[in-house]
């Protein structure tokens, strides 16, 4: 059946109101979910040889227009990630969820360019640090390090840091911060207290986030990946173990538009660390006496 025949068989297209509704799907609609579906660009060029036809009035789930959000987006600073995020960056006024377990895989470096842009625009940032009563992974003691923040372009003087004692305080602080207009960004390490309660609380935050223009990042443990969430964007972060280099693998669990199967690998740490990993053997470590002890003096003299 070619496109003309199908078009002749199909009655006049229904006026569509609901976004993403696909009435009168073609018989091979399940092809939408197949991984080898043609990209929208292919479809426009060649036109539906994979059994996929363009009908007027029918919206396709992998149409980029569907994925385009009304919200304005801020570039992430990573071209590879921008290409996969609907709107080309972090959405303003939407809840974005980041799921990971191990601190130190480069999760904040992923956010740093966007935070720096907010700081340079003079907008404030609120950090809700991990709860003191949380699981013992040293993060309850860790503090953001101002010299490193300044190096990343984030002015620490326009950030407020909150260290909640218990989970309730963390949720309260996030909610209060989202009520403030003109907030630039919010990063919150949110404790988990059961899927049901989390969903309700996140939904509340999501609705609050939509009232303003801030970038809202909720950081949660990766065991929450399987539980439902109202966030428009959910990213699971892990470390990809390549043969030579270690990259940050960003798996997009949920986004507007078609799903993405393969994680996006990003280089967040300096490349020289990857290269030097093999060369700097452990044997070098005891030989620290080889390091000239006047190195610091030299550095000072150079200042």
């Amino acid at each position: 059946m070619n496109a003309q025949q199908l078009a002749a068989l199909t009655p006049a297209p229904l006026p569509l109101r609901g976004r993403g509704a696909i009435p009168r799907a073609p018989a091979d609609a399940y092809a939408l979910a197949a991984p080898d579906r043609p990209s929208p660009a292919q479809r426009e060029r060649g036109g539906g040889e994979g059994g996929f036809v363009c009908l007027p009035g029918v919206w396709h789930a992998d149409d980029p227009a569907l994925a385009a959000t009304a919200a304005e987006c801020a570039p992430t600073g990573f071209a590879g990630l921008d290409a996969e995020l609907p709107g080309g960056g972090w959405p303003h006024g939407q809840l974005v969820e980041l799921l990971y377990d191990d601190p130190g895989i480069g999760e904040l470096s992923l956010l740093a360019p966007a935070l720096a842009a907010q700081a340079q625009a003079g907008r404030a940032c609120v950090w809700i640090l991990p709860c003191e009563s949380g699981p013992d992974n040293l993060l309850q003691q860790a503090l953001p390090y101002p010299p490193a923040l300044a190096e990343a372009g984030i002015d620490p003087s326009c950030s407020i840091f909150v260290r909640p004692a218990v989970a309730r305080e963390a949720w309260w602080a996030v909610e209060q911060s989202l009520r403030a207009a003109h907030l630039g960004a919010l990063i919150g390490w949110l404790p988990s207290s059961g899927a049901q309660a989390d969903f309700r609380a996140l939904r509340r935050l999501h609705l609050l986030a939509q009232r303003h223009h801030a970038l809202v990042f909720a950081i949660r443990p990766s065991r929450c990946a399987g539980t439902p969430s109202p966030a428009v964007l959910r990213l699971q972060l892990a470390c990809s173990s390549g043969p030579q280099s270690r990259l940050l693998a960003v798996k997009i669990l949920k986004r507007r538009g078609r799903p993405l199967i393969d994680p996006v690998a990003l280089q967040v740490h300096p490349d020289r660390w990857n290269r030097s990993a093999a060369s700097l053997a452990m044997a070098a470590a005891p030989a620290s006496s080889a390091v000239r002890p006047w190195r610091l003096t030299a550095a000072l003299a150079g200042c």
């Binding site: 191990d102 404030a124 503090l143 101002p146 490193a148 840091f161 470590a285 390091v291």
Partner: protein
């Protein structure tokens, strides 16, 4: 033209007792010797139970079992009137306190300021509404002289109908129907006048002037002349004090700190008026919950201090902050009174309200930002809400300073040394000892070193300070099998242990 507004508060002791808590039950004010108190004022609910002024307290308690009886405290009334005068200073530059038997209150000169507030009816409405927020109800009198305004106001406070005299020509007509009792002359004079068949001011004013003066004294005639505007009537100048102090007695013991919100709101409204009069803001508010001195525990007062990042005077915003603060306060004893003092006034920069709705792209509004900071700070405390500053120090743990929010404003920012090496985004304030196997540090598996060593030997200038020891370390960037990139160091001294100091998040 000078125009005066009299604000007459009928049954002031009753109003003072009722404003500290929403009171629906019977309430009475008692006076007289302690062993035989007499009822002097009672509210509608008590009146409905059959209680009347001049009744003995024991008799009244027999009529209404739930009667709340509060002894009259004249010094509290005086303080309250003074506080009210401070509050009223926002509406007029000339405020005077008047006390009388029928009513007590204030007279304000409003002719000079009513244009600012959009005409006298808008001004009166606003004063009435804000008095209501303070917990007072008042009768107003409006006339070209303070004496006439006060007469009209007290007549209305006494439940009589009287008409305002906004122009000088209507003064005589407005005052004529008022009864003689409004003049608050002594009982002998009033009795004599009544015996002469005189009942109203109009009849009194119709008498021949010199005969009246001969019989009743020149000062009586002078009183009438001042009210009619025939002689000048200078009012005692009220000077605004430099500090604010107000107190509310609670009619019932308060055990929950949240119950203090209602009287606190009244105090904040009063403070707002005071600050408007000064055109200033308050940066530090000290609430004090007073406890019964006869209680078992020797706790007499619980201070509740509200520190603001920027001077503020809006009662609504202050009340929100106080509500957050009160969630952290527990009263050791039931409170019987609440007072608010502001010792230092700060210049207040009011922000212009925008004509247009704020656009989404507008840069952060300083006030809004401070409000958020204060809300978080009020609830969680300064140890949980803070800012971080980079400090010029080579020792990583001393290159960070936790700055409380309240002191953040105006403190000079120190620039950090530009650092050639990469620093971790998260740091542990106290380095964590790492286990090691044959000189290899481990954390979540064996660590591979990516960069380093970077030697940091610094801090000799703090020699002898146990909190700021000298460091001798070789720093490395390490990564474990789970992909965590860590900042670790090895001590140069024996036993050359490994420590974890940060995460390259």
């Amino acid at each position: 033209m000078a125009l005066w507004l009299a604000v007459c508060l009928p049954a002031l002791p009753l109003q003072l007792a009722a404003r500290a808590a929403p009171c629906t039950g019977p309430l009475a004010i008692t006076e007289g010797p302690r062993e035989r108190p007499l009822i002097s004022f009672c509210n509608d609910s008590a009146r409905a139970a059959g209680i009347a002024p001049m009744m003995k307290l024991a008799a009244a308690q027999a009529l209404a079992r739930t009667l709340t009886a509060v002894p009259r405290q004249p010094d509290h009334e005086r303080d309250a009137l003074h506080e009210l005068a401070c509050w009223a200073y926002q509406f007029s530059a000339q405020v005077a306190v008047r006390t009388g038997t029928v009513a007590s209150g204030l007279v304000l000169e409003t002719g000079g300021s009513e244009r600012l507030f959009g005409g006298h009816s808008l001004l009166h409405r606003r004063i009435r509404r804000e008095l209501g927020n303070l917990g007072y109800r008042a009768a107003f009198g409006h006339a070209p002289t303070p004496g006439a305004a006060w007469l009209i106001g007290t007549a209305r406070a006494g439940g009589l109908s009287a008409s305002d005299a906004p122009a000088g020509g209507q003064l005589q007509a407005a005052l004529s129907p008022l009864p003689l009792a409004m003049l608050e002359w002594d009982a002998d004079t009033t009795g004599t006048l009544h015996a002469l068949g005189l009942a109203t001011l109009g009849q009194l004013l119709a008498l021949p002037r010199d005969a009246f003066a001969r019989r009743f004294g020149a000062q009586r005639l002078d009183h009438l002349d001042r009210a009619l505007g025939l002689r000048p009537d200078p009012q005692p100048a009220f000077s605004l004090p430099a500090r604010f102090a107000a107190h509310i007695e609670l009619p019932a013991d308060v055990t929950q700190s949240a119950q203090l919100m209602f009287p606190a709101h009244r105090l904040l409204r009063s403070l707002e008026g005071f600050l408007r009069g000064h055109d200033a803001g308050a940066a530090e508010l000290v609430f004090t919950a007073h406890h019964d001195p006869r209680a078992v525990q020797p706790v007499t007062a619980t201070p509740i201090v509200l520190v603001l990042a920027a001077p503020e005077r809006n009662a609504g915003r202050l009340a929100k902050l106080l509500a957050e603060r009160l969630t952290r306060i527990s009263l050791p004893e039931p409170a019987i009174g609440l007072s608010l003092t502001v010792d230092r006034l700060a210049p207040f920069q009011a922000l212009n309200a925008s004509l247009l709705p704020p656009s989404q792209d507008s840069v952060r509004d300083g006030l809004d930002w401070l409000q958020l900071a204060e809300t978080l700070h009020a609830r969680l405390g300064s140890e949980r809400v803070f800012q971080l500053q980079a400090v010029d120090d080579h020792r990583p743990e001393h290159a960070i300073r936790i700055v409380p929010l309240a002191t953040e404003r105006g403190s000079p920012r120190t620039a950090a040394l530009p650092c050639a090496q990469q620093r971790p985004l998260m740091i542990l304030p106290a380095p964590q000892l790492l286990p090691q196997h044959d000189e290899h540090p481990g954390y979540g598996g064996r660590l591979a070193l990516l960069a380093g060593p970077e030697r940091i030997e610094a801090g000799w200038w703090d020699l002898g300070d146990p909190h700021r020891p000298t460091v001798h370390r070789d720093y490395f960037v390490a990564r474990n099998e789970r992909g965590q990139t860590l900042w670790i160091y090895r001590e140069l001294k024996q036993p050359r242990r490994w420590f974890l100091h940060g995460f390259f998040c």
